[in-house]
């Protein structure tokens, strides 16, 4: 073709060809014209909500907090008032704060949590005018998490162990407590691998 021989004509042909194609861009802020998020999309982390017992999955065990590379989270735990009648969780999260401005969306907290209590939500539009405007507390984390759960139809990865509803006969392990930490990937209990206290 002539375009191969005379390059500046070939280039013109390429641009002319693409002039007749549909635009590939999307009009971002409009909800019906933006790009779709993939199912695995990792937005900011959010806490999941156990609808059966009306409490968060999180027990405040602090593992994610220790493992977070940017140390952007804090949490406190308390005794669960619903235990043991309505819930199997002996401890429950009291306060939880993530400075999403520092979060690097690495997903490590999700990997290490053995209670399915934290998930990478699809939330990613959190621009704020204040410098620390993205310090989110338990309430907003849970609401982020609930909308995420609703959107993707979330199910705990390890329901037998992590559901809060008391199921006496099925599970010998009657209470979820914070003593045992399992490797989220291999599922094996990890002895002697506790993180050093910060």
């Amino acid at each position: 073709m002539i375009g191969d021989i005379i390059g500046f004509i070939g280039g013109l042909a390429v641009t002319l060809k693409s002039t007749w194609r549909e635009p590939v861009t999307a009009e971002y802020p409009e909800s019906d014209k933006r790009l779709n998020l993939e199912e695995r999309y990792m937005g900011f982390p959010a806490l999941t909500w156990d609808g059966d017992v009306e409490e968060p999955y999180c027990t405040g065990c602090m593992v994610c907090i220790r493992e977070c590379p940017t140390q952007c989270m804090t949490a406190e735990m308390k005794d669960n008032p619903l235990y043991p009648e309505e819930s199997r969780r002996r401890k429950i999260v009291d306060t939880f704060e993530i400075n999403l401005g520092r979060c690097i969306i690495c997903g490590i907290c999700v990997d290490v949590c053995s209670f399915d209590a934290i998930e990478m939500s699809h939330e990613h539009e959190l621009s704020k005018y204040e410098r620390n405007g993205n310090r989110v507390d338990l309430q907003s984390l849970i609401s982020m998490g609930r909308s995420y759960q609703q959107k993707v139809g979330w199910e705990p990865k390890n329901p037998g162990k992590n559901r809060g509803t008391p199921q006496v006969e099925e599970n010998s392990q009657s209470a979820i407590n914070d003593a045992e930490v399992t490797d989220s990937r291999s599922g094996e209990p990890m002895e002697g691998d506790e993180c050093p206290d910060l």
Binding site: I6, V14, E38, R40, I108, C195
Partner: protein, 374 residues
């Protein structure tokens, strides 16, 4: 009006000192190049780096091995998966972990896709440096497909944290093979189109041919690696000459230039995209079933010792030197960043070039300042 000059020693005329960067639009990040020009000709140049220094290597010493992967993501932020791979390979080597087959294939597929994406970015930005505004948009059109695929696999478009010590984070999504096929078909067309757009354009050839040439021997002396080295006619690709992971199983070509000028460096990368597509096709064909990760503890404590691993990142020889003292944080992590080494040859390449060439030469090295400064 005041202009700061320096005296030219040879003929007593005045050379103009110009700061190119750190706010110059075509320095690819925060990079400062001080040049002394005589009219449009460059007399002397002096690169200044360090504007993006975050102390990554030092931070590595206080993070767990699994957390360091996220730091490597942010060093070469265009070839993230390749950076992750380099560190994971180093840790696996020191711990003597055997990575499952499937994980190896997934890594290769994703890293090669990442290479195509990175070269696409280079292609687009290079077009922009040369003054053509369309290449960048075509490049992003192609890159977008890859990014979408990444998003479906790793959950992130840039900072994946997907390659983990001992394997990968998650299994591939169910429709991956089909989507990959679509992306590859799209890419093949896209690469041809990108190639036809400017590679053979007479103006582009005039701008890049014979500009910033560096001989193979010089390039080796400067420690230039990767496409920039191959452009100078040196057959050196770590995927072949010192294979890591499972690269020794694939059949592909190494594009090699002749003169080591800007056009060679540019076109080596265009060819490399085609070759990467070949590798991905082979890997996707052979992708076995099985585990995706070896049984590795979350907090790894490698035995005492040190290890050195070289990988071929999109920019060149990305090597990691890792010293472990047996605790859960490394004693020392040294990254041999290809951009940094390639940058050293800049002064030589700029010798006697025009001001306008400086932009092209700088672009042809394909710097990622995050990696240079770390």
């Amino acid at each position: 009006m005041q202009i700061h000059e320096t005296e030219n020693e040879t003929d007593g005329s005045i050379d103009l000192m110009i700061n190119m960067g750190p706010q110059h639009p075509s320095t690819h990040g925060v990079f400062r190049l001080v040049i002394w020009v005589d009219g449009e000709r460059i007399i002397k140049s002096e690169p200044h780096i360090g504007y993006l220094h975050r102390g990554s290597e030092k931070i590595c010493e206080s993070e767990h091995y699994s957390q360091i992967v996220t730091l490597f993501d942010r060093m070469d932020y265009v070839g993230n998966l390749n950076s992750e791979l380099a560190f994971c390979l180093a840790t696996e080597k020191i711990m003597d972990v055997c990575v499952p087959e499937r994980a190896e294939y997934i890594r290769v597929i994703l890293c090669e896709l990442n290479r195509v994406a990175s070269h696409m970015l280079f292609y687009g930005v290079y077009g922009l440096d040369a003054g053509a505004m369309t290449p960048i948009l075509y490049a992003f059109r192609e890159r977008e497909k890859i990014q979408n695929l990444f998003e479906s696999v790793t959950g992130a478009r840039m900072m994946h944290n997907y390659i983990r010590i001992g394997g990968v984070k998650e299994n591939l999504p169910r429709d991956f093979q089909q989507r990959l096929h679509e992306v590859l078909e799209h890419l093949k067309r896209g690469i041809e189109e990108c190639d036809a757009l400017i590679s053979k354009n007479e103006m582009f050839l005039a701008r890049t041919k014979g500009v910033g040439a560096i001989s193979g021997a010089d390039a080796i002396d400067f420690g230039v690696t990767g496409p920039a080295l191959r452009a100078s006619g040196v057959v050196e690709d770590i995927r072949v000459t010192d294979p890591y992971s499972i690269y020794d199983r694939f059949d592909f070509n190494i594009p090699v230039g002749t003169y080591g000028d800007c056009w060679d460096r540019f076109y080596v990368r265009v060819e490399e995209m085609r070759e990467s597509v070949k590798i991905i096709e082979q890997a996707a064909r052979d992708l076995p079933e099985g585990d995706i990760s070896a049984a590795v503890r979350r907090i790894v404590r490698p035995p005492k010792g040190e290890v050195f691993v070289r990988t071929e990142s999109p920019r060149g020889d990305l090597a990691v030197f890792l010293v472990s003292d047996g605790t859960d944080t490394p004693y020392r992590v040294k990254v041999r960043a290809p951009s940094f080494a390639n940058l050293q040859a800049l002064e030589q390449m700029l010798q006697g070039a025009y001001l306008a060439d400086a932009v092209l030469i700088l672009g042809s090295i394909d710097l990622i300042m995050g990696e240079v400064d770390r």
